[in-house]
């Protein structure tokens, strides 16, 4: 009796969530199996696996998968490593700590589009960007970042955007670290490095896991930065899966192939999540 009431009361939210998930997913699955090109309306016949075949044999497919994974791995490594180091650095009190923290966190509140525009026009532009100015004043040729190192440029932009998130999580975690433990280690003869290595890093294992999980979700779907800056190019050099799908859907008007790509992206996300949880998830039980 009591259990059925509980279920009854829970039902609306469960059903709503289910619909929320099921409807787009089933429509995507449906679209991926029909011919659905906006240039040829009305010819929506069933085509089986053909959309998937198109997507998987697209010349952009392998570069896109590779770029997605490289982007993911690089940004994760940069944000976690730099995040841990910077948070540990600003954890001990110093003059201006508050303002430094605010400055470090603030890039997180900038829209991805604006972020990309800032980097594209003010930092990396070969004519009037700050990087160009620096290399010129040092006597070097300015580098055209976006065309010479498109993927690296994207990685820099996205890392700049996500580093604050990592710092935010790590700084909060560090504040809960027990100071007496650090003092005990100090009395045991530990140097700053020892304390970082044997106390702080283990203490951060769980926050690092959380940061990796959350960032992964967003990094697999990076789009705005690519769209605004490199446009996926040159060639496919900075095209990731999300951008390739957009390409199919809106540049070639092929909703069917785009849906197939979307489903592949879902599959890829699950594979990545599976390995991530296997690799770092055991930290969650510590």
């Amino acid at each position: 009796m009591k259990r059925s009431i509980t279920r009854l009361l829970m039902a609306p939210s469960v059903i709503l969530l289910l619909i929320w998930m099921i409807v787009p997913l089933s429509m995507t699955i449906y679209f991926s199996t029909i011919r659905y090109n906006l240039l040829y309306p009305g010819q929506n016949n069933f085509v089986g696996w053909m959309n998937f075949e198109f997507f998987l044999t697209d010349p952009g497919f392998f570069p896109a998968v590779a770029n997605t994974l490289i982007l993911l791995a690089s940004v994760l490594i940069i944000t976690v490593v730099l995040g841990v180091l910077l948070s540990a650095l600003i954890d001990r009190p110093f003059w201006g700590q508050g303002i430094v923290r605010v400055l470090l966190i603030s890039p997180f509140f900038i829209m991805p589009t604006v972020n990309a525009l800032i980097w594209k026009n003010m930092m990396m532009n070969p004519v009037y960007g700050i990087f160009a100015w620096i290399s010129e004043s040092l006597g070097f040729e300015p580098i055209d970042w976006l065309s010479s190192f498109p993927l690296a440029s994207i990685i820099i932009m996205v890392s700049w955007q996500w580093l604050p998130f990592a710092i935010l999580v790590f700084v909060t975690a560090l504040q809960s670290q027990d100071t007496e433990q650090k003092e005990a280690a100090q009395m045991d003869g530990a140097t700053g490095w020892h304390i970082f290595r044997y106390l702080t890093l283990p203490h951060l294992a769980r926050p690092i896991t959380v940061v990796v999980m959350i960032e992964t979700i967003f990094l697999l779907a990076i789009f705005a930065e690519i769209f605004v800056s490199t446009g996926g190019g040159p060639g496919y050099d900075s095209t990731n899966l999300a951008y390739l799908i957009y390409n199919q859907a809106l540049l070639q008007y092929d909703v069917g192939v785009a849906s197939a790509g979307g489903l592949f992206a879902v599959l890829l996300a699950n594979i990545v999540a599976f390995f991530l949880i296997r690799a770092v998830g055991k930290n969650l039980t510590v």
């Binding site: 433990q181 003092e183 005990a184 100090q186 009395m187 045991d188 003869g189 530990a190 044997y198 294992a205």
Partner: protein, 364 residues
């Protein structure tokens, strides 16, 4: 030259003067207890000795070396914290061996020392556990073990027993006393519990508002406090302080007048001048209920039975309530009139500056 010498140590926090000129000499092998009310600077003093706080001025010397400016990692002291501060991600064995591993001691030596310590503290069965899988008492023992393994020059304890329940606290207190006997290492122990201080210490240092009030053996402090603060701080229940109506110095005796009765106090025990208002101090255990007219008379307000003894709260005609120790089987009705006999030998006198102006009786 003493083993640990502290000279004119001052400590200012931003706008708070926490240590106001501490001078203290500790001999090798002594068990020293810092005791005092909460916030009096006990932890600050201990942490300054440990090097976890920097002193504002003054000097600390250990074993003939000035360590005032030395980093705590180089002082060769070990500290047991109130929270135990075990390393949560390491097993008990790793906690115990951490300092030795940092010092790059040979593996065989580390193993041997860890085994010896874990055996003496009954930690053998727990070596592979993490701190959070241990009980409070076990954590406490690991914390102590971690300090012992290093064989430091001095052990520092900051209220190590205050997180344990009463029974365990008594047991750990005994173990600490035994440990000190066995190791013979100098120990400095901070507590706000005067029972711990009295039972453990070779010498007790009583702190009050960032200053040392008195240093002495537990018995000295009990019998010969030199201020009202110490007189009241040591002993449970507190010493009774009774303002005298009059104190007149005569040839052989000081005549003390108290609520109409007069008591003779030997002049030879007087060490200072009598003031306008002299106060008499006497402990509950040095007063006795008698059934004939004696030094004091009062009415029973309340009796606390502790099983082995009882404490009678007695209202004097001056309106003051004093506490008198009585036998466990005493049967008193509330409001009953009682007579109290004082042990003059155990009495102390205080002047109006709250300083003690009498010496305890010699001998005994």
């Amino acid at each position: 030259m003493s083993y640990l010498a502290i000279t004119d140590l001052q400590k200012h926090y931003d706008d708070y003067h926490a240590l106001r000129g501490i001078n203290l000499a500790i001999e090798e092998g002594e068990f020293i207890v810092f005791v005092g009310p909460s916030g009096c600077g006990k932890s600050t003093l201990l942490r300054t000795i440990a090097g976890l706080e920097t002193s504002s001025s003054g000097a600390i010397e250990l074993d003939g070396k000035d360590i005032t400016e030395l980093a705590s990692s180089k002082r060769d002291l070990a500290m047991v914290f109130q929270s135990y501060a075990l390393y949560p991600h390491m097993t008990v064995a790793d906690n115990l061996s951490f300092a030795l591993r940092l010092a790059k001691a040979p593996d065989a030596e580390i193993k041997e020392k860890v085994q010896a310590v874990s055996k003496s503290l009954q930690l053998d069965a727990l070596l592979e556990r993490k701190p959070k899988e241990l009980s409070g008492g076990q954590r406490q023992r690991v914390a102590i073990g971690r300090a012992i393994v290093r064989q430091p020059k001095v052990f520092l304890f900051d209220e190590p027993l205050s997180n344990l329940d009463a029974a365990l606290r008594v047991q750990m207190r005994l173990e600490l006393a035994r440990l000190h006997k066995k190791l013979g290492t100098t120990m400095i122990y901070v507590t706000h519990d005067q029972v711990e201080a009295m039972t453990l210490a070779d010498r007790v240092v009583i702190l009050n508002a960032g200053q040392i009030e008195q240093v002495g053996t537990p018995l000295e402090l009990y019998r010969q406090p030199n201020s009202r603060f110490v007189a009241e701080f040591i002993g449970t229940p507190k010493m009774n302080l009774i303002p005298l109506d009059q104190a007149v110095k005569q040839d052989s005796a000081v005549e003390l007048t108290l609520l109409g009765k007069s008591i003779a106090f030997p002049t030879s025990r007087l060490t200072g001048d009598l003031s306008n208002q002299t106060i008499m101090g006497i402990r509950p255990e040095h007063m006795h209920l008698v059934d004939h007219a004696a030094d004091l008379t009062g009415k029973v307000e309340l009796v606390e039975h502790l099983g082995s003894e009882a404490y009678a709260h007695i209202l004097l005609s001056s309106g003051q309530t004093i506490i008198v120790k009585a036998s466990a089987r005493i049967d008193l009705a509330d409001g009953q009139q009682v007579h109290i006999q004082l042990e003059v030998d155990e009495m102390i006198l205080l002047n109006d500056q709250d300083r003690v102006i009498s010496a305890s009786t010699e001998g005994e």
